[in-house]
Amino acid sequence: MDILIYGTVNSIVFALIAVGFSLVYGVSRIPNFAHGSIYVLVGFLTWSFINDLKLNYALAILLSLIIASIIGLIIYRFILIRLRGLPTSEIIASFAVSLIILEGLRMQGIAGFKGFIGPFYVLQPFIEGKISIFGVFVDYQRLMIIAGGLVILVFIWVFTHYTKTGLSLRAIAQDEQAAMMLGVNSDRTAMISLAIGSALAGLAAVLILPLGNIAAEQGYRVLVYALAVCIIGGLGSWAGTILASFVLGFSMITSTALFGALWENVVLIGTIILILLFKPSGLMGKQKELEERV
């Protein structure tokens, strides 16, 4: 039973982390390697707003999310826009941005900036305490993750199916040229997708970080998890991302229960290799296998 609950939590965690990256890639074909760094940045920003500026929790979150979206916009507008269509350079550039952010957060002694080092940075869970479900103790924060995650996923679905902007995102994702012919501005859409993707990274951060502490190193791990989920689910497939999150979430929890926590990464890389060998387009990849193959 506890595997079921914790498995679900874990899966939603993966889904939250991956959906931002998946959206950006699906819409604009840009692999946003800065994804993990935005996650961490939002964590630290929120912490700073709460502890240094003494802002109210909800306000702090809102502010950080807005800043995250703006940063996403800036990254596109000033850097990625010049590299559109050159995946090599996009990856290198966005990864460089990621490093600037992550290592920058660890800098000390520049203009009095103390640098975020050490395990002391913690975001409080929204509601303290635990509750017993079917005999298993689950803390409220984890339940919030499930609830929050589902709300976010539903919201995305509604947004992309019923609002004008959302529909234009889907249009570009399906066929860029056709969408452009119908008047959808590719650059504007890419900017929007990066803003939303960054906001999603931030949302994931505020939901998940209260479970532990904030550390800059997590940025790399988050990026790796997002990449893993997207590869397993199929680059560019939103349904695949969700499916892959569950597959990965449950298999990692199960392996932790059976073999111990240290094996979960082995399971992760093992799954990736299996998928690459047998179904390279991912579990629900849009492209036929032969076209993924070179």
Binding site: K288, E289, L290, E291
Partner: protein, 252 residues
Amino acid sequence: MDREPILQVNGLSKAFGGVQAVLEVNFDLFKGEILGIIGPNGAGKTTLVNLITGFVKPDAGSVLFKGKNIKGFQPHKIANLGLVRTFQVMRPYHSLAAFKNLIVPLNSPRVRRTSGGKLGDRDSVAIDILEEIGFERDARVPYKTAGSLPLGYLKRLELARCIALRPEVILCDEVFSGLSMSEIASMIPLLEKLQMEGITIMMIEHRLRELFRLADRVAVINFGRKIAEGIPKEVMEKEEVKVAYLGTGKRK
């Protein structure tokens, strides 16, 4: 001309999303002939070539090359069996010299096999091939960077790439497109020469008049289906073919 089919396509079908690109196409390609494949734009002709040569996986149907089922084979494997194709959209290795472009096919397992390991200097073999198809050696055309050559030469380079593989069948995808009348006039003898050397050719073309000078038979594809097949004169008389190209003439 042999009546033995070297390539047999049966019930080949492929849909991309909601669009049925190719539907139940059947035809035989007989050894030593030149078969023309014609039809309006977007009829699925290039998809057909992609399906036969392994670049796209068919939904249904079979492709038999010399009796062997090659459906699902990787493109390079099919090329090594002797079935090669040209590309409609030309992209030579533009930073390399023209003759260096041929080094790639000359290194294929097929060429290594058939030359018994004694190919000699690949560079000079490449230049010889180019010279035979009209790259003037004196003007040092084979040495020019591929990216700087005009279209007529590029089309011939593409054909040379196929020839270098010592193929049995060449599928030509619009080799005449973009060429001037005189350029086409110089390509026709080249193709005739290939036929005389025993190579079977299937040509997708829009330039009907030039095609009919070469083709022994033609097949007409429209909306992914084969609608007619036979010798050019007869096929062009058929009602369905006229309608496919010209429309029915009826107002809505």
